[in-house]
């Protein structure tokens, strides 16, 4: 990828006014869909994404069921009105691929052996997209899974880092994704300290790669704090912290 114009100004501000190690505003609302077993709405900058989790429930068609564990089915979908120009509602190659990587980034956190012959359905619907929607989708899906009361080893938090003007920046937005040098989405289990998703689009030197990964993980930890506080607020309200 060759960058055609500068995306960081002389004051060190990025195209949306952030500095290089600043995340966009993140807000998560838990339990917004009554019919789902667990759900979350995430606002990640201009991204607006709903995640809904159903299950564990019976698998239909039955031949898909696994006798020793649960199957996870994930659907990432962008609504036709989520982008500048209308997006066809039919699942595209990109969406099918993102559905797969999101499923694979969530599976390590779930204790699937606890629900044999069942299925967990994860629906991620992008209402408004502004770059980094797979990371925001994973973050929201993880909150929705916890809200659904599915046994999990850890939460999954996701954040991207990348290269813009040869500088490593955190939480790439749409412009930086399209015009910048590199984009690296990372999903991370914050307590187990394990990476469940690592993709890289663009070119980075080994040193840049290491810095980029460290920055992305730092972003994930910040995202985790927001996931945590949103779940705590829904379930325990004002009664926060320890209780003896």
């Amino acid at each position: 990828m060759v960058q055609s114009r500068s995306l960081i100004d002389e004051k060190g501000k990025r195209s949306d006014g952030r500095i290089i190690d600043e995340l966009r505003q993140i807000k998560i609302n838990v339990g917004i869909i009554r019919n789902a077993d667990g759900s979350a709405l995430i606002e990640f900058g201009k991204n607006k994404i709903i995640a809904a989790v159903y299950g564990p429930r019976e698998v239909h068609p039955k031949h898909m069921a696994l006798s020793d564990r649960c199957v996870v089915r994930c659907r990432y979908h962008m609504s036709p009105f989520s982008t500048d120009t209308r997006k066809s509602p039919a699942p595209s190659r990109r969406e099918t691929e993102i559905s797969k990587v999101i499923r694979e980034s969530l599976e390590p956190a779930l204790i699937l052996e606890d629900y044999p012959r069942a299925a967990i359905d994860v629906f991620i619907e992008v209402l408004q997209a502004d770059g980094g929607s797979r990371c925001a989708g994973i973050t929201a899906a993880s909150v929705a899974l916890a809200d659904a009361g599915i046994n999990m080893r850890d939460m999954v938090s996701a954040c991207a880092a990348g290269k813009v003007d040869d500088k490593i920046v955190i939480d790439i937005n749409d412009t930086e994704d399209k015009e910048g040098g590199a984009d690296m989405p990372v999903a991370f289990m914050p307590n187990l300290k394990k990476i469940t998703l690592l993709q890289l689009d663009g070119e980075l030197t080994p040193d840049q790669f290491n810095t980029c990964l460290d920055e992305a993980i730092r972003g994930c930890m910040k995202v985790y704090e927001i996931q945590r506080s949103s779940l705590m607020e829904k379930y325990f309200g004002d009664e926060k912290g320890l209780k003896e």
């Binding site: 204790i111 044999p116 916890a146």
Partner: protein, 268 residues
Amino acid sequence: MQDVKRKYVIPGDIVAEGNLRALVNVFRNGNSIVATRIGITESNNEGAKVIPLSGIYFPRANDIVIGKIQDHSSLSWSVDINSSFAAHLPAQDIFGRDFSPAHDDMGRQLSTGDVIVARIAIFDRTRDPILTIQDKDMGKIPTGELIKISPTRVPRLIGKRGAMIQTIEHASSTRITIGQNGIIVVSGKDKEGITLAINAIHIVEAEAHTSNLTQRIKQLLNVPESEIEGDDDSQTSNEANETLSSDEKSISNNINSEMGVVNPNGSK
């Protein structure tokens, strides 16, 4: 009482460290015990566990559940028990050991859509749960309003030694049958009573983790002041204290008091 330590957790949080037994909704990671659900932890000498605040129903042997008949094969009924497994009620459970699909008409006993109170006789994850209605006051429920709550709220709805559910039943003059799977049948003579009871149940579900809940429910149901006792200050911990044995006792008490339940054996 033993010294019990509690805190609020989400999946991945450390419940306790050291050489404790990992009980339910936790797993061991090195030296620490980690929560797998959102809930309230409880750790004492016996081990550490998490009392979950969300989640679907996972069957356990001897649970009393309310289910809806979905269909029947020539040998058993399949019953929806609000879980990821479809339960089976063998025809022999009702017709006896000399049941013969050629002579006995299963549809005459229970048909699709019927609601039953049953006990899970056998369940071990490798196969679907098997139900039985061969206990006192189990079987078909003829009338009532069916409502669904989160199965994690069932212990709270029953309350300490059945306090909560008895309060609601008294104040609304209804009979409430609770299944461990979160399905509840409310029956009564007048509509107002049933509506009142259903509202109260929904409030208990929504505010299960808050303290002083029984008292607030009493106020809502207009139970006279003299009947409001001050024994309810530590309700949040009471919720956590609800042990399974006491839940089951309360449930069977409720079912015993369920006048309308027809025992299919008796009616045969």
